[in-house]
């Protein structure tokens, strides 16, 4: 008898995997269904993918989503990199600083979203892409911070010290030694921040002004208007992009140190 094996755990685990993946498989397979009534399968086709490519509303929402994710992830990564360099070595209030940096992970998103909305309106700021970029930057910080911090943790601090012993100044030793070693962590953090921003619905839902819909907000309003095969196709595209980017991030995180 193997002490590590418990009866039924294997069956339940397989059941949970089915539970996790059946909805994804159903969604993806319906997106290739030629029939307009989404429940009747006629034959495989790429019709709906053609439709979404030609849809101007989806084109502009995609463009908004990409610009938003690129700006927010870049800003969050730069901010998180600086913070990670500061917290790499222990100091008295490090725990408190890290708690503040990770605050966006703990707070309910809907609360932060409505609070930010009220701030912008109280200040008289026009809602739009700009307000979304600011709000996304804030909640992307922990997603960029954690992989960079993990990479720094495993790095040998003495390389930088050696460079300085060889008369490199602080900036030069950072640019020529620390930064290249840190690069996979930075890219992993950027990718996670990018995916988080790209997939975000709630914050964008409250902060998007007229005419600046993002892809998830567009999907939500389409679902509310009625289920169509186009939604299946665009949802599948979003799924594939997220999975690819997250796999990339995991791969970068595991690169040889």
């Amino acid at each position: 008898m193997n002490i590590r094996r418990f009866p039924m755990t294997r069956e339940i685990s397989l059941l949970v995997l089915v539970y996790l993946y059946v909805p994804v498989v159903v969604l993806v397979s319906y997106s290739f269904n030629a029939n307009r009534t989404a429940t009747v399968w006629s034959h495989a086709s790429l019709d709906w993918y053609g439709r979404i490519l030609a849809n101007p509303a989806i084109q502009s929402a995609t463009q908004n989503s990409l610009v938003l994710a690129l700006c927010a992830a870049t800003a969050a990564t730069v901010i998180a990199l600086l913070a990670a360099l500061a917290t790499a070595r222990a100091f008295p209030s490090r725990g408190g600083v890290e708690a503040v940096l990770n605050m966006p992970l703990i707070l309910p998103e809907i609360v932060v979203a409505v609070a930010t909305l009220m701030l912008f309106v109280a200040l008289g700021v026009q809602l739009g892409l700009g307000t979304m970029i600011l709000a996304h930057t804030a909640f992307c910080i922990p997603f960029a911070y954690l992989p960079i911090r993990a990479r720094l943790e495993g790095m040998n601090q003495s390389y930088g010290e050696a460079a300085q012993d060889l008369y490199a100044n602080r900036f030069r030793s950072f640019r020529r030694v620390t930064l290249p070693l840190l690069w996979p962590g930075i890219m992993a953090g950027f990718t996670l921040a990018f995916v988080t921003s790209l997939d975000d619905f709630l914050t964008s839902f409250f902060l998007s002004g007229p005419g600046t819909t993002t892809l998830p907000v567009y999907i939500f309003s389409s679902i509310k208007a009625g289920i169509t095969p186009e939604i299946n196709a665009i949802s599948t595209v979003m799924l594939v992009i997220s999975v690819l980017l997250v796999s990339l991030s995991f791969f970068l995180g595991r690169l040889r140190r």
């Binding site: 002490i3 755990t9 932060v112 804030a138 619905f201 949802s235």
Partner: protein
């Protein structure tokens, strides 16, 4: 760069701390303040109003035409439903998450990594899209409803827009948060303890109850917190899979900023959600301290 390490550290931390202070700290303070004001004006808030607890009183009491206060339970019911729904989801996640984590811990190194990847991938995909997938499965002309109808005919069965559909969607959304902390505990578990219990004549279920579960308690607590808290503030799942009778806190907050346009009352509801979350976290911290002693 300056030579003083404390100044240098402060300089590096400033952008991050400032961003979070301005874009999260300040809005939260404004939220508290607005929750004490009244609705009005073009922006939805009467800025000149004297601060009062009126919005919080409105959660429970309603003013009748003649000025007497009568009990209004509609918001309390929604609050209670959110808590119950979060509790049910946490229970379901534990029921299914515990066996999965236990099974994963007994696998070989490569299989474990594979399972970890399979469990985390759904977490990183779009929450909206994942809940939408359940909408397709559960709707009246979906294959699940048709299959049930085929086995026991009697007209289409309503699977959507009820508490069960919301529970399925919420469990689907947050199950990985339960599995991962549990797995972390089981991965480090000293299996010789189970052997010892076995040698001392404990049956398998007794060893599970008296040895494994008590040691897994920190993981169970962490996982429960990670599932319970996002469930409390859930919006997407009840908005897509629930109906008018399954509203949760997140839905009525959104309504105050949408159709009802009563921002101060919405702010008060958001503060209640924050308070509830803090209460749960403090309870958990107290419990953990007691355990250590």
């Amino acid at each position: 760069m300056t030579g003083n390490p404390t100044l240098r550290r402060l300089g590096l931390l400033t952008p991050a701390l400032m961003t979070i202070a301005v874009l999260i700290g300040v809005p939260l303070m404004l939220l508290f303040w607005i929750s004490l004001l009244q609705k009005g004006g073009s922006s939805g808030v009467d800025w000149g109003a004297a601060p009062s607890l009126g919005n919080y009183i409105r959660l429970v009491w309603e003013e009748d035409f003649d000025g007497t206060m009568i009990l209004n339970t509609s918001y309390l019911v929604i609050l209670l439903r959110s808590i119950l729904q979060a509790a049910v989801t946490t229970g379901l996640s534990l029921l299914f998450g515990l066996p999965v984590a236990l099974w994963m811990a007994g696998l070989s190194r490569g299989q474990r990594d594979m399972m970890l990847l399979l469990i985390t991938i759904p977490f990183w995909t779009n929450l909206l899209v994942r809940n939408y997938a359940w909408l397709i499965i559960l709707r009246d002309d979906g294959w699940l409803s048709q299959a049930i109808n085929f086995v026991s005919p009697g007209g289409p069965i309503q699977l959507l827009y009820n508490d069960l559909a919301v529970a399925i969607g919420l469990t689907y959304s947050f199950l990985p948060f339960m599995i991962l902390p549990l797995y972390t505990v089981f991965e480090k578990f000293d299996w010789r303890l189970l052997e010892a219990a076995h040698d001392l004549g404990a049956t398998r279920s007794r060893a599970l109850r008296r040895v494994l579960i008590p040691i897994a308690m920190p993981g169970i607590a962490a996982g429960s917190l990670l599932v319970f808290i996002p469930c409390l503030g859930a919006f997407v799942t009840p908005a897509l899979l629930g109906g008018g009778k399954t509203l949760m806190l997140g839905n009525i907050i959104q309504m105050q900023f949408g159709a009802s346009r009563n921002w101060p009352f919405g702010a008060a509801l958001a503060v209640v959600l924050l308070g509830l979350m803090l209460f749960v976290m403090v309870c958990m911290a107290i419990w953990r301290n007691r355990r250590v002693k």
